[in-house]
């Protein structure tokens, strides 16, 4: 970092073929890992290869992945939102409060989404209008949002959600395919198109690589970032609806620590934590990797807190390994 070396850049005279690039990409490596985990798991536990068990396993990642897609865009643009889990807590508390006043399912969904959007806007105002660093702002709002849940709920819990509300987290579309899976697929496609096929997506990459350059090329940097925070808030609202519906109750400690898993998922999916690069397909595969790993470990009776060691190691390892690799390659050359 501090050593100043003159770097010469090797510019190839022709690009590798498309198939070759795909084969060598991060996503291909992830996919291989997924298949390997799948095979190992099916040997490790006789309960793994069961359609219903696998269907249940998807709950491990669907809600997190919904947020991870929006978070991927945010991180690509060079910002981060650590308040997502707290937004879930606040949105869930708001929905629980509404139930006490007799709100029906449509109102609950509207409230969940609205609270998510509002929280996203709150973060966005601090980051884009006041120009504060997103990491501090969202650490602050992380305690603020969850703190409000604690003020409202204390050590109580909200229950009594209408039975039709259970559809989001517990419903099935067809056979073993859940409503959450459908939402996951729809949201993945929407974000994939948004990031990879629209001008907005190009702007996100441009901002992440060089905010000043993006500004000079006519991108309204602050507005794009504002929208990204709104989207992350909105996705947290969607995840709050699914999670609340699935659990059927709200405590202020709901989704505690989920922000870490979401960030891990995004980084594991090949998104550069410093911004500027990454892809939605990568995040989709990363979601499966994390889901399969936690499900497999769960079948082997590994407690949740021990799984979190794996998640932490995964987060650091995924970033550290390529760098170690690069250092090793450099020393070999020298």
């Amino acid at each position: 970092m501090s050593d100043i070396a003159v770097q010469t850049r090797h510019v190839p005279d022709r690009l590798n073929s498309r198939a070759f690039r795909i084969l060598r990409s991060w996503e291909a490596l992830l996919l291989a890992v997924t298949v390997a985990i799948f095979i190992v798991n099916s040997f490790a536990s006789p309960y793994f290869l069961n359609a219903w068990n696998l269907s249940d396993a998807t709950f491990n990642f669907t809600e997190k992945a919904m947020i991870a897609f929006a978070m991927a865009l945010l991180i690509i643009s060079g910002e981060i939102d650590l308040s997502v889990a707290a937004i879930i807590a606040l949105a869930s508390t708001a929905m629980g409060l509404a139930v006490q006043y007799g709100a029906g399912t449509p109102e609950l969904v509207a409230i969940g989404l609205a609270v998510g959007l509002l929280c996203g806007a709150f973060n966005a105002v601090f980051v884009t209008i006041l120009g504060l660093p997103s990491i501090v702002v969202t650490i602050g709002t992380m305690s603020l949002f969850r703190g409000i849940s604690y003020i409202i709920l204390g050590d109580e819990a909200f229950r009594g959600y209408p039975s039709s509300f259970a559809w989001f987290g517990q419903g099935y579309i067809y056979w073993v395919f859940t409503v959450e899976m459908l939402l996951f697929v729809i949201i993945a496609v929407i974000y994939g198109v948004l990031l990879h096929k629209t001008n907005f997506g190009r702007a996100v990459y441009a901002i992440g690589n060089n905010p000043t350059g993006a500004l000079f090329s006519g991108i309204r940097v602050q507005r794009v970032k504002f929208i990204l925070f709104l989207l992350t808030g909105l996705m947290s609202g969607v995840a709050a609806i699914c999670l609340t519906s699935r659990l059927g109750s709200t405590r202020p400690s709901i989704a505690q620590g989920m922000e870490l898993e979401v960030v891990t998922m995004v980084v594991l999916g090949g998104v550069n934590i410093l911004g500027g690069s990454g892809s939605i397909p990568g995040v989709v595969i990363a979601a499966f990797v994390m889901g399969l790993v936690t499900f497999g470990l769960g079948l082997l009776n590994v407690p949740g807190i021990v799984m979190s060691i794996f998640i932490g190691l995964l987060l650091i390892g995924v970033i550290a390994l390529p760098r170690l690799w690069a250092i090793a390659a450099q020393s070999r050359k020298a």
Partner: protein, 327 residues
């Protein structure tokens, strides 16, 4: 001349704390009795110690979110050592705690220095890893007060010259860091690295190494606090000090330490911690539910960062970005 002699930020904060004390005293005069103020200070001591370490880390443009997990792991380890070997003298326990904390700090520091991984990612990861290890070594069980030796739990409570040892440790740490920041090359290079890493390199400062030392210091203090915490509350379990890292960051931000690095003072960190400590201790007195605590520290962080920018500094920088782009 006067405004230049008195640092504005610290004065405002000290005035705010004083105002808070007067407000509480108007409702309940016993709160400002010297004995109670000693209690409040003693209760805030862990936060003060950790805020000093976090201050150094933040000033080098990093952040350490693993301090609370480090504290909990060290606390659990020394508690288990105490159960296994009740006759081990306290200085040895203290040395083990500081050493263990330093090792964890060094892990963070090495990952940031040698592999240039963003500090936020490193410490988010190590935070969960450390917590998980507590579960692994303790098997999820608690170490309770009756299992600990009297000397082990007695040390932080022993009263010397009217103050418990816990407070004296905090005072010693403040003095040490005050001297370090103002009077040693290390303190100066910490400020230089945060202020302008490029310029720091040209003046011969090793930026990565300075950041490593900052993490080492933060880890050592977290380890020390780990022992004090477990001994004072006479219990160790997986979730002790859960979420405390946020309070530590909050204390620093309230104390005027710029998250963009390079700006901050020992006085600010101490006053920021004291502010939170007074708020926390005053809440039950004025009948506010403890459930407000989290929201209040969150709001305090937001108000403090907004205030920092309004105070006319340069705009906040994205700390995820590495300080230097490859040249």
């Amino acid at each position: 001349m006067l405004p230049r002699l008195i640092p504005v930020r610290e004065t405002v904060l000290a005035a705010a704390i004083l105002l808070l004390l007067i407000l509480v005293a108007s409702r309940f005069s016993g709160f400002v009795a010297p004995a109670n103020l000693v209690n409040v200070f003693n209760d805030t001591a862990p936060l003060i110690i950790l805020a000093l370490g976090q201050m150094v880390v933040i000033m080098t443009r990093c952040i350490d979110l693993s301090v609370a997990a480090n504290l909990a792991l060290t606390g659990m380890v020394v508690a288990m050592i105490n159960v296994a070997m009740p006759d081990l003298p306290i200085p040895v326990i203290l040395a083990i705690a500081v050493l263990l904390g330093s090792v964890m700090g060094a892990i963070n520091g090495m990952l940031v220095w040698k592999l240039a991984i963003p500090p936020i990612v490193v410490t988010l990861g190590t935070m969960t890893i450390f917590r998980g290890i507590i579960f692994l070594i303790s098997d999820g069980k608690w170490v309770n007060s009756h299992e600990m030796s009297a000397a082990f739990t007695g040390f932080p409570r022993a009263v010397v010259l009217g103050l418990p040892m816990m407070s004296w440790v905090a005072i010693a740490a403040v003095a040490l860091f005050g001297v370090m920041m103002a009077r040693t090359p290390l303190g100066r290079s910490i400020i230089a690295v945060g202020g302008n890493p490029h310029a720091a390199v040209y003046t011969g400062i090793n930026v990565g190494k300075t950041q490593f030392i900052a993490f080492l210091l933060s880890g050592a203090l977290a380890g020390l606090t780990g022992y004090l915490w477990v001994a004072r509350y006479a219990v160790a379990y997986v979730d002790i000090a859960g979420g405390f890292e946020l309070e530590v960051v909050a204390a620093c931000v309230i104390g005027g330490i710029s998250i963009a690095g390079g700006i901050g003072s020992v006085g600010g960190a101490v006053l920021g911690a004291l502010f939170l400590g007074v708020v926390k201790n005053a809440m039950p007195v004025v009948n506010i539910s403890p459930f407000w605590q989290l929201a209040i520290s969150g709001s305090a962080i937001l108000i403090a960062v907004a205030f920092n920018v309004r105070a006319g500094r340069s705009k906040g920088r994205i700390i995820l970005k590495r300080a230097e782009a490859p040249s």
